[in-house]
């Protein structure tokens, strides 16, 4: 189980040399929520509200300024084993000196999987994201969407127990996106992995998640949570046509709207 | 010495500015002394010393006219002659004392070394400050004279200041050094095996002052005055060893004890032509002239 309790994060950094002096940004004010083991939760919120920051704290890559994150009862101080993350900066998170294959395989080596198993996993993962045939290319020889899919393949092949995804489908076309959504759900169902999924696409959040957590705009708190009471067996055509789906997405949309408006009325000074 | 601003022999009120390239060692004490005593000023020469580390810096300076005069050992000058370096000696520089065991340079070994005489040096590793120069030719002569085989010596090039340590650490079997390293090794318990300058020739002229052929041709008067001043300085220095020991403090950092203890060289005013010819012969024998024969007359004044 993933627990986030009173999480707070303030970025301190010098602004443009002296002109504006110290710049302090309160990215997260006070976040509390839990994700059960094996749950698939989607996270939505306005741009710049701190979703990436939250994910980095959960992954143990960033130290919170306050509050705490714990995974399966243990407090997170550094990256936990069995955790995989798809970064929003997919381009920069691939290693340009390695072929696509090596990029996907590297974490598996760390897991000390035998060679055949690694080859198999890499092949399956690349196949699943529609990149069979590009194994020997370097990442920078691929299009943006292809790079993003390599990053997804890397996380998928890793067979993590916790999967954090930061806008993983932002750069792919609608059709591929639908396929990848189904891939994530299939993986989740097959492996029972805990998934925290950030997206800007409200339909996607509702289609994918068992629950949708909505963040307010900065200073960020949890605005609302919705349980998605759609049947567990979902498919692109029928689920999206379900009136309940439409009701849910409208609700989420309104909440985000409200979050944004709230932000405007508060208008916290930023620098 | 600092470079006195204007360079060359510009006439300023009849006084010639003269730069002399020297190595800051005991050998050139007379010129410092002479400057202090006014021997140069009285001949309308304003002399300043440029202290280089060796011929590599001094000879090009003289040839190009950056310095008017320079100080160099005779073998280097002989080598230069075979290569037609356009220089000419103008005065004697420094000479061996000619006394076995009491010269300002010699071959040293550690106290407990099995090497007793120069003959024992055959087959040993000996450090000299520069290879194919005055050091190794004269050391070979010492060995030869003592009945050893000079061909079997293994020479290693090592600056004088590093020799005491190398000798002490056993990196070389013997070192050819001059003062003040000679006294330093002695103080550390080292032993003199041979005085190679004395073995090479009686009253060997070790080094000389020289100028470029161009200046010698164009300003004979200046050269003449400089020679006179140097000769006066040499004579004075030879007669006043205490003042020599004192003037050393002005341009070296030799400590007082060593200054008092060390053997001073001789400073005759005449270049001993016979000894130079001997040097030329020795050099030729040892092949340091690349097969050429130096013309001694061409470099002497």
């Amino acid at each position: 189980m993933l627990e986030v309790q009173g999480l707070r994060k303030v970025y301190k950094s010098a602004g443009r040399s002296g002109r504006s002096g110290q710049r302090e940004v309160e990215a997260l004010r006070d976040l509390t929520f839990t994700v059960d083991t094996g749950e698939l939760v989607c996270l939505v919120g306005p741009s710049g509200c701190g979703k990436t920051t939250l994910l980095r704290c959960i992954a143990g890559l960033l130290e919170p300024s306050g509050g705490k994150v714990s995974l399966d009862g243990r407090e997170v101080n550094g990256p936990s084993p069995g955790l995989a993350m798809v970064f929003q900066e997919y381009g920069r998170s691939l290693f340009p000196w390695m072929s696509v294959r090596d990029n996907v395989e590297l974490p598996l080596r760390q897991k000390k999987l035998p060679r055949e198993r690694r080859v198999e996993l890499v092949e399956q993962a690349l196949e699943a994201v529609g990149l069979a045939g590009t194994e020997s290319a370097f990442p920078w020889q691929l299009s943006g969407g292809m790079q993003q899919r390599v990053a997804i393949a890397r996380a998928v092949a890793y067979e993590p127990s916790t999967l954090l995804m930061d806008e993983p489908f932002a750069a792919v076309d609608a059709q591929t996106r639908a396929d990848l959504e189904d891939l994530v759900r299939a993986l989740w169902q097959r492996l029972g992995v805990t998934v925290l999924f950030i997206t800007h696409d409200i339909d996607e959040a509702v289609y994918l998640g068992q629950r949708v957590v909505m963040l307010s705009s900065s200073p960020t708190v949890v605005q609302d949570e919705v349980t998605v009471d759609l049947p567990a067996d979902r498919d692109q055509l029928h689920t999206r046509a379900d009136p309940r789906f439409t009701a849910l997405r409208t609700h989420v949309y309104e909440q985000i709207q409200a979050a944004k408006l709230g932000a405007v009325s508060q208008a916290a000074p930023r620098s | 010495g600092s470079s006195g601003g204007s360079s060359g022999d510009t006439d300023s009120g009849g006084v010639d500015q003269v730069k002399v390239g020297v190595i800051p060692i005991v050998d050139v004490a007379p010129i410092y002394l002479g400057k202090d005593k006014g021997f140069f000023k009285s001949r309308n020469i304003e002399v300043s010393m440029e202290a280089g580390q060796g011929g590599a810096a001094i000879v090009p300076g003289v040839v190009s006219g950056q310095f008017q005069f320079g100080f160099s050992n005779m073998t280097s000058l002989l080598i230069g002659q075979t290569k037609n370096v356009p220089v000419k000696t103008v005065a004697a520089g420094v000479a061996s004392t000619g006394e076995q065991g009491k010269d300002f340079g010699g071959i040293m070994v550690k106290a407990d070394s099995p090497i007793k005489t120069a003959a024992d040096l055959a087959g040993k590793k000996i450090s000299v400050n520069t290879l194919k120069n005055i050091g190794d030719t004269t050391v070979r002569e010492s060995v030869r004279k003592a009945g050893g085989d000079p061909k079997a010596i293994q020479f290693v090039e090592m600056p004088f200041p590093n020799a005491p340590a190398a000798l002490q650490e056993g990196q070389v079997d013997a070192s050819w050094v001059v003062e003040p390293q000679l006294s330093e090794i002695k103080a550390a318990g080292g032993r003199l095996v041979a005085s190679n300058f004395v073995d090479a020739a009686p009253n060997l002229t070790v080094a000389a002052y020289f100028t470029s052929a161009k200046l010698a041709g164009e300003d004979a008067d200046l050269v003449k005055r400089f020679t006179e001043a140097i000769n006066e300085s040499l004579t004075y220095a030879d007669a006043h060893p205490d003042e020599v020991r004192a003037v050393l403090a002005s341009y070296t950092k030799i400590d007082e004890k060593t200054r008092a203890a060390m053997t001073l060289p001789k400073w005759p005013t005449e270049i001993n032509q016979a000894s130079v010819e001997t040097l030329a012969k020795l050099g030729e024998q040892d092949g340091i002239f690349d097969g050429a024969t130096p013309d001694v007359a061409k470099i002497l004044p």
Binding site: R56, A59, G60, L61, G78, P79, P81, L83, A84, M85, F87, E89, R92, S93, F95, P96, W97, M98, L106, P107, Q110, K111, F138, W140, Q141, R154, Y158 | G54, G55, A56, V59, P60, V63, S64, S76, I79, G80, K83, N84, V85, P86, S127, T130, L131, K132, N133, Q154, F155, V156, E157, M158, P159, P161, N162, A165, A166, E169, Q171, I288, D290
Partner: protein
Amino acid sequence: MKRLAYVLGLPVVLFAAWFVISAGSENFYAPPLSRILESFGRTWTLDRLQADVLPSLWRLIAGYVLASVIGVALGVAIGLSRGLRATVEPVLEFFRAIPPPVLVPVIMLFAGIGDGMKIIVIVFGCVWPVLLNTVEGVRAVDSVQLDTARAYGIGGPARIRQVVLPAASPQIAAGLRQALSIAIILMVISEMFAASNGLGFTIVQFQRSFAIPEMWSGIILLGLLGFALSLLFRLAEGWVLRWYHGLRSVTKGR
């Protein structure tokens, strides 16, 4: 064909200019190029190459390889640890500023006067560009790449080998490139002490015995040696960093 023209073009022009300008030179220290070239053939015979250049090359390569290994290893450690850097940087800077010639006597105290001493002198001089560039390269590794490695539990040696070193490799290459020519320079300097053979020794010997055309021919040989080694280096770099050159030339598209 075109590449050959690029490689030889400027040198040919410069040598031609040198040839013409120096043709009637009376200056003892700047003899006509024709005499230098003539002495080149005479001086650098096969015997001489074997007796003087080979030992030099061996010291050079040993020193360079050692310096590269030390520089990269130390550089990675210092680049990764801020504390270590704060502690050792002043000491390193202290040694970096000391001229190798004055350090030779100290090195001789510990390492004797054999090849070991000369190799240490070379190491001592050419480790700095490798070290500094490695430190800076490691410090500049993209934070997202580091985070990726951390998130996937790629730690310890694997992180250094798979992430840190490749990411810093372009800058490390700059350091290795610098070190190569410095190693040649230090080979010459190290042979000014307690040597009895070697390319540097021979050149200094020529200089001291007023064999000026021979000295210049030696300098030309040094240049050629540097050029040849840098050619090898470029080949190796082009191979190891082909991902980088590909990445960087993506858009140039030409």
